[in-house]
């Protein structure tokens, strides 16, 4: 039985939240039951993600096929695209899936008390989002990638605009809708081009195709389109404008999931760049583009964060800066693939980037949950109004401090562990880049200190005198995230060994990915 489940875990990981998402509305009348069911759904998905991760680590790439039995086959035959779901999971995707499922589970626990209305709708959408996310990172097929991408976007929009009464929320949802639509169009178009060129949409197959038969011009256009689309969706500068709105307006728990969802776009970007197009000469251009985008994000995110007065927007901008870190690191990694003297540094950069990606997912989630906790009790996220909360909410304050230290990359946090890897590798590529990264990181410290001090320190404010610490379920979620963050920070070596390196190797080892399917 266990083996059975383990065998089907990839499919189950996607299917369970999907099914729960559609079943939940049936329980509309039994609200408590619905919430419980939802939690069970998240728990089950998490279990599956863990199983997937474990088996990938021990057994290597896992391929799971549903529907048609061969790659070229389409069922029914008249369909232009084969309806067949290939899940191909390597260490990187498994890691993304695990992180996504974990954060989603914690967000769901947090939401028990946090969300006070429309439980059913909320949980359905969140489950749908998780399903989309898992499918997105697990799939081995470009068309499915597109489908899950859409699922993810639509459920996200629903959640961003969850508080329909707030016009800002609706506006943020609309912004996200626009950017998603544009990104989807790009992706669809790119897929069309690739299909026209290669006649197939399986990632591994396309990759092999290109490896053997070389590039077509359309491929390059497709590559450009895909990079654009995913860069847009992961919120890098200069296409970051939707981030503060969406992150700022969505319910805090959703924001946490949204953050990892955005990171999954980084995943897709890397998957396309490294696995599909691989070590081909043109990747250099992409690499530089990525580095430049990353550097801009670094600086813009940090400086914009400096002037924010809204706690969540402040965190969101700081997050943009962190995305920049990840991109810069991978960009340097991408450059290094074909550049022998740089290779050692490139590998280190990619380790740093990947590690930072995971770290970022967790501490960003933590920060957003803390912001949610503040909103939950104090009713505002305006830093000018807040103050003195450390008296009433000492735990939340500590959690924020942990998150803030991490995002600012101060020792001894996990953020520091991964950033130091990045500095240590990119300086050789360009010292100036390292300096920009360093100074951006220093700048991010400032808004974080500012936010901490404005919200938690200072004289007691009358309005908040009766404020209490948040309920247990919310504490629990934040506590787990804090533990993860601290653990990663204290034992970076272990994490690098057991999680990061396999993922980096998986990403670099294009042949293995291709071979896994065929």
């Amino acid at each position: 039985m266990i083996n059975e489940i383990a065998l089907h875990s990839p499919a189950l990981a996607i299917a369970i939240p999907l099914v729960f998402a559609f079943l939940l509305p049936l329980l509309k009348k039994w609200k408590k039951l619905a919430a419980l069911m939802a939690l069970i759904g998240f728990g089950a998905a998490e279990t599956m993600a863990v199983l997937v991760f474990k088996s990938v680590l021990t057994e290597g790439i896992k391929v799971y096929v549903m529907g048609a039995s061969s790659i070229g086959q389409t069922t029914p035959p008249f369909m232009p695209v084969p309806v067949r779901i290939i899940l191909e999971i390597d260490a990187f995707s498994a890691l993304m899936g695990l992180a996504g499922a974990t954060i989603a589970l914690l967000a769901a626990i947090y939401s028990i008390k946090f969300i006070k209305e429309s439980h059913v709708k909320y949980y359905s959408l969140l489950l749908l989002m998780l399903a989309g996310l898992l499918g997105f990172v697990f799939t081995g097929d470009l068309f499915n990638l597109f489908v899950f991408f859409e699922v993810l976007s639509i459920s996200s929009i629903g959640l961003i605009a969850f508080w329909l009464k707030r016009s800002e929320a609706v506006e943020a949802g609309f912004k996200y809708l626009t950017i998603s639509a544009v990104a989807s169009l790009f992706v669809l178009f790119a897929i069309g081009l690739l299909y026209g060129e290669h006649g197939i949409l399986n990632i591994a197959t396309i990759s092999r195709d290109m490896l053997f038969y070389g590039f077509a011009f359309t491929d390059i256009i497709a590559l450009g389109l895909l990079v654009c689309a995913f860069a847009m969706k992961c919120g890098t500068a200069p296409m970051h404008f939707w981030v503060p709105d969406a992150y700022g307006e969505a319910p805090a728990a959703v924001t946490a999931v949204l953050a990892i969802a955005s990171l999954s776009s980084v995943y897709a970007l890397l998957r396309i760049a490294f696995t599909v197009f691989g070590p081909l000469p043109h990747t250099e251009i992409i690499a530089y583009a990525v580095i430049i985008m990353g550097a801009i994000s670094l600086f813009v995110g940090a400086t914009m964060s400096l002037v924010q007065k809204d706690l969540k927007r402040l965190i969101a901008y700081a997050g943009v800066s962190q995305t920049g870190f990840i991109l810069v690191a991978f960009g340097v990694g991408l450059v290094a693939i074909n550049n022998v003297p740089l290779q050692a540094f490139g590998l280190r950069a990619m380790q740093g980037g990947l590690f930072h990606l995971i770290n970022h997912a967790f501490y960003e989630a933590l920060l957003f949950l803390v912001a949610g906790a503040i909103i939950y009790r104090a009713g505002t996220k305006d830093l000018n109004e807040l103050g003195g909360l450390a008296r009433q909410m000492p735990l939340t304050a500590v959690f924020f401090l942990i998150g803030a230290i991490s995002i600012a990359g101060l020792p001894p946090s996990n953020g520091f562990a991964s950033k130091i890897l990045i500095y240590e590798s990119i300086y050789f590529f360009s010292p100036l880049l390292a300096v920009i990264a360093l100074i951006s990181s220093v700048i991010v410290v400032v808004p974080m200190v500012k936010a901490f001090c404005s919200a938690f320190l200072g004289p007691e404010i009358k309005k908040f005198k009766s404020v209490k610490e948040v309920p247990g379920s919310m504490i629990l979620a934040m506590l787990v995230l804090s533990i993860i963050v601290i653990f990663f920070g204290l034992f970076p070596g272990i994490m690098l060994e057991s999680i990061v390196n396999p993922a980096v190797n998986a990403l670099l080892n294009q042949a293995a990915y291709v071979g896994g399917v065929l």
């Binding site: 007065k309 830093l383 000018n384 103050g387 500012k450 001090c453 404005s454 200072g458």
Partner: protein
């Protein structure tokens, strides 16, 4: 943290050796609004003066403020001498000037040190106060105390400048001529001081006139008000003296903090010259119109009338109004210290400054709150005179038009 917050400086604050309360509305580092609350040093001196005899008042007046404590007893005696029609001997007039100018040297150098301290330049403060000790020694030698001189008497002065004093005074003047070059180099050439004072806390000539600024504050804005020059008092009409403005140093008066430093430094030089002139011209003769104090008291008891005396204190125009009504004590006594006139100009100077500029700009008018508090109280609706109010009044005409256009 809200961007705009209230910062109250004082009444107990390291930048202010005296209590005054300045309330600032600050946005980031920039001052948006200033208001001040005084009254912390109100000791009821005028009230007390109206129940003491003139000789006692001399010492009371001296303690209105300890910094330039020559000016108050001097102005008071001048007012009373006018009412009582006492002719002050010429020698006494010269000695009065010597004391007043020694005082100016001490006060300006002290101020320079305080200003340096406000800038965080403690070395300069130590230097200036070190050289100040010399003039204190001279004052102590002439009068018997370093700070409170107690040298004035109605109808003259209590202590003569003796023959053996003169070389010592001359020597001290030479000493100051020597350090003057150094002071000039420190204050006028030092890049860090210049950066902190040039175009900071500007008071335009028009504002200075409109708000009736006095003393070095006004002169730094190019307004040539100087009682020593414009009015005939003590020995000044016989001396060669010109009002000190930045133009003397060949600069255009900008009315900023730097100019106020400049004017004070130049005045130190001027004071040295004036003392020199006095020593050269010092006439022989008595130093008191009525040396027997018992007689003097009886005489003063009988006088009636009112008078006003103006005096140029180191900080500017000082006024004593006195009314005698054939009693032991004055019938009315009103003192107005220079800072009183210089506080309103402080408001346009400070607005738009940064927090860091507050101390140096405030110090640049050389406020002496002790005097001011005796007589001043600024207040308004919310118990503070808001800067807007004053500003509005001061530039009313232009603003009116502007406001109408905006509406």
């Amino acid at each position: 943290m809200s961007n705009s917050f209230e910062l109250c400086v004082g009444p107990i604050h390291p930048a202010l050796k005296e209590p005054i309360q300045l309330d600032f509305e600050v946005e980031g580092e920039r001052v948006k609004n200033v208001s001040f609350k005084l009254g912390q040093v109100h000791r009821a001196i005028e009230w007390a003066g109206m129940r003491r005899n003139p000789i006692q008042i001399l010492y009371l007046a001296e303690r209105i403020c300890g910094i330039c404590n020559v000016c108050h007893p001097m102005a008071f005696s001048m007012a009373l001498e006018k009412i009582a029609e006492i002719e002050v001997p010429k020698r006494a007039e010269y000695i009065r000037v010597i004391n007043a100018e020694l005082e100016r040297i001490h006060s300006h150098i002290l101020w320079a040190g305080v200003a340096a301290h406000e800038l965080g330049f403690d070395s300069v403060m130590h230097y200036t106060w070190r050289v100040r000790e010399k003039v204190l020694d001279i004052i102590e030698m002439l009068n018997g105390n370093r700070i409170t001189k107690g040298v004035f008497m109605i109808g003259g002065v209590r202590r003569d400048v003796k023959k053996e004093h003169i070389p010592k005074i001359r020597q001290a003047l030479q000493y100051y001529r020597d350090c003057y070059a150094k002071l000039e180099k420190i204050f006028l050439k030092d890049a860090s001081i210049k950066a902190r004072t040039r175009d900071i806390g500007v008071l335009s000539k028009k504002e200075a006139l409109k708000l009736c600024a006095v003393g070095p504050t006004a002169r730094a804005s190019g307004v040539k008000k100087d009682i020593r020059v414009d009015f005939a008092y003590a020995a000044y009409p016989w001396l060669d003296i010109k009002p000190v403005t930045p133009e003397i140093a060949g600069l255009k008066a900008r009315g900023d903090t730097f100019d106020r430093i400049l004017v004070r430094l130049l005045e130190v030089k001027q004071s040295i010259d004036l003392i020199e002139q006095c020593l050269n011209d010092l006439p022989a003769g008595p130093i008191l119109a009525e040396p027997v104090l018992q007689k003097l008291l009886v005489q003063l008891k009988g006088v009636e009338g009112e008078s006003i005396a103006l005096q140029e204190a180191p900080r500017g125009e000082l006024i004593h109004y006195l009314k005698m009504a054939a009693q032991d004590s004055p019938y009315a006594w009103k003192v107005r210290a220079p800072t009183y006139a210089n506080l309103p100009p402080l408001i346009p100077m400070l607005s738009g400054c940064e927090i860091a500029d507050i101390p140096i700009v405030a110090a640049s008018i050389d406020p002496c709150i002790s005097c001011t508090n005796r007589v001043v109280q600024i207040d308004n609706d919310d118990s503070i005179l808001s800067m807007d109010k004053l500003r509005e009044l001061s530039v009313q005409k232009t603003n009116k038009i502007l406001r109408e256009v905006k509406k």
